[in-house]
Symmetry: C2
Subunit: 197 residues, 2 copies
DNA sequence: CTCATTATAGTTAGTATTAACTAACTTTTA
DNA sequence: TAAAAGTTAGTTAATACTAACTATAATGAG
């Protein structure tokens, strides 16, 4: 777990704040060094170059995402409840540390660099695929309707999740994400549950 | 309709391609001048500065979006069919000129500049609010279920729409957007229609 | 335990490159 | 013949990054 040093974590955290506030273009070594309150070249004592910083951010986000998804699945409850948890756990984390995860599912990190693009896309796929598995299991267990394919259900749920998150971000955090998230999760439950069950 | 000169349209179009291909960071005056095949300073004969180019892009996208939404609503059909059209019309346009609309709903254009941010967000709100009106009308007409609020239904539909579009973009246009869009629209129809009707 | 040594983490002062943009001149078109 | 649209050759400012130096803190021999 000693993947990053304390200073590295500090830098990653400030970098995430910079991106969340004003987009990738706001992430310059100068701004970053101001944010962590030491000189520009000091940054290079902790990261090889800017690409290394971006890669580390993605690695960090991947670790966070894996931990959330583990919680969601480990809950050992029904598929429908796991989907509720998917919303609740994500929104809880996002709302509590508004800086980081805000852009996890956003395209903000997509860069020219194919390596970086691949990495950030694979974080997105991670949650999508997990959700897909939950839905499929729910369908097999008779909890979730089977007249709509797993794929289409996944798109609906991931879409609603991401759209609500994006709206919250764009509104400048003008509403309670956890409250609205719960309402949305309830609505989705109504739409996807197996009525014969 | 003579809002932009031919050259301006040409420049806007190439700018959209540059952004679609490699993100906002790829949109430099140098790249743009290469794309339109004349020198950098010539760009400034057509636009005051870079901000003016970005603003014009957003204006252009707004015009396109309004025309699509008009088609969707003018179809004079049922709410459920209008929602089908919402998918079909958008995806048809996107698939036919893959450059432009790809990022209309993406956060790619979000900038430091508050004026630009406001403008691009209002394009997004335009489609969201139109969709919301269609849904509400459908609920009043008894076509669409009323046990879920207009707001929650809007989030589900806009979310699915945007998520599918983002997936297509990220997959490097690996699937037929119009085909998958139709499937998705059918799935949504099943989920939102009023069953007592 | 002390003190020399050495790796670590910071500094200031710069470099090379690239960005947006301009000045001044030329060609093209109405 | 004059306005519109293009050119070349720059400027200024910002960016990522480096060189060279310094302070601090851990290490290890006497």
């Amino acid at each position: 777990m000693a993947r990053f040093s304390d200073r590295q974590k500090e830098i990653i955290n400030e970098a995430l704040k910079l991106i969340a506030n004003n987009g990738i273009q706001n992430l310059t070594i100068k701004n970053l060094s101001k944010a962590v309150n030491f000189s520009e070249p000091a940054i290079y004592r902790h990261f090889a170059d800017k690409k290394d910083i971006l890669m580390s951010i993605i690695t960090y986000l991947t670790i966070c995402e894996k931990s959330i998804l583990k919680k969601v699945q480990a809950s050992g409850v029904s598929a429908l409840d796991q989907i509720d948890n998917f919303f609740a756990e994500h929104f809880h984390q996002i709302a509590s540390e508004r800086n980081s995860t805000v852009m996890k599912y956003s395209e903000a990190l997509l860069q020219h660099d194919p390596k970086l693009s691949k990495a950030i896309i694979s974080v997105m796929h991670l949650s999508r695929d997990t959700l897909s598995e939950i839905i499929e299991a729910g369908q097999k267990a008779g909890e979730i309707r089977t007249d709509i394919s797993t794929k289409q259900l996944t798109i609906v749920i991931m879409g609603a999740f991401r759209f609500l998150m994006a709206s919250w971000q764009q509104s400048n955090f003008a509403f309670d994400l956890e409250v609205e998230g719960k309402k949305q999760a309830e609505a989705i439950r109504k739409m996807i549950h197996n009525q014969g069950h």
